[in-house]
Symmetry: none
Subunit: 195 residues, 2 copies
């Protein structure tokens, strides 16, 4: 339980709590903060936070619409895009978990690292659609579940619709992977050719 907070402080915390767990009812929040339900309601009102039910609906709709609507950049990359300069370079981070590892050893499966590198490389290419053509990968050190990977990609060369992107992945300053990927930017021709 939480006590003796200034109104402002309390409202900040309520906001945090709700954003972490939108399923909290006013009653539960009141218990958590050891104040009355009415105060919670006033606070929500002042901050423009909707009631629990509406929040749940938002969560439900967000996620279902995400699936259908835009499948653009962020969702198509593995890991988190931190910084990007289209056509030049980019940085992405992936926090590794047990799910990505071999059960016995806890070593991250190589294709997760490749996926990070590949999707970063594709996303820095400034074009509608980009496809990987050729790649050379080199795994330097095993990565263990829990380590945070930082991938840096750079467009090394480009000629026409062909880009050479080099990606370096580090964990705790140490290089664990490098890759050179040849990526092609594509227009609708390829699509039609097959479809």
């Amino acid at each position: 339980m939480i006590r003796n907070l200034s109104k402002l402080e309390r409202q900040k915390r309520i906001k945090e709590y709700i954003s972490k767990d939108p399923f909290l009812s006013d009653k539960k929040l009141a218990e958590l903060f050891n104040i009355s339900v009415q105060t919670i309601r006033l606070d929500r009102l002042e901050m423009g936070i909707p009631e629990m039910r509406k929040r749940i609906v938002q969560v439900a709709k967000n996620t279902s619409s995400k699936d259908k609507v835009k499948s653009l950049k962020k969702e198509e990359i593995i890991g988190e895009l931190i910084d990007i300069e289209l056509g030049k370079n980019g940085i992405a981070i992936l926090k590794t978990t047990k799910d990505m590892a071999f059960g016995r050893t806890g070593i991250i499966r190589s294709h997760y690292i490749f996926s990070l590198a590949d999707s970063l490389a594709i996303s820095i290419i400034d074009t509608e659609v980009a496809l990987t053509g050729i790649a050379r990968l080199s795994y330097k050190k095993p990565v263990y579940a829990g380590e945070t990977l930082v991938a840096k990609a750079r467009v090394a060369r480009s000629r026409g619709n062909k880009y050479l992107v080099s990606v370096h992945v580090k964990s705790d300053q140490k290089e664990v992977f490098t890759g050179k990927l040849v990526i092609f930017s594509i227009n609708d021709k390829v699509k039609k050719e097959k479809a």
Copy 2:
């Protein structure tokens, strides 16, 4: 509006409607089917379908967990091991789906194909733990969601704990990917070194 359906027929349709749009209240359903709210409630009861609010919560919780996992799931990637001769060769199949593709073009993201190749390559190595060291990948043709990929891997050379595995992935008899992977079999030393 819908009319004159047998009870069974109606219940089937209600089920469909709800699964398509979990946000439908009993009132709205009653209007859609032109029957009373009570009948809808009885139908839900008989079919064990929870009330709208609970359905929304389910959707919200589902999707929020999807967000966190986001990356790749084991089963999705690896495909199905069809045949394997440890230390020699192996075949795996992956049925591609929209989830694995770029939204706009329907082209399968390259790392799914690599994941298939890589995990097959690793699984034909007859050892406790195997890790990918170096890889050369070549994507020959774009693969579209829905196509079924057949991966064949062969141990081309092996020296000590070092294996060269070549993998060919075909879709409908046509080669879409080839890769050469250098894989190391590992014992506990590596683990200790880092852990």
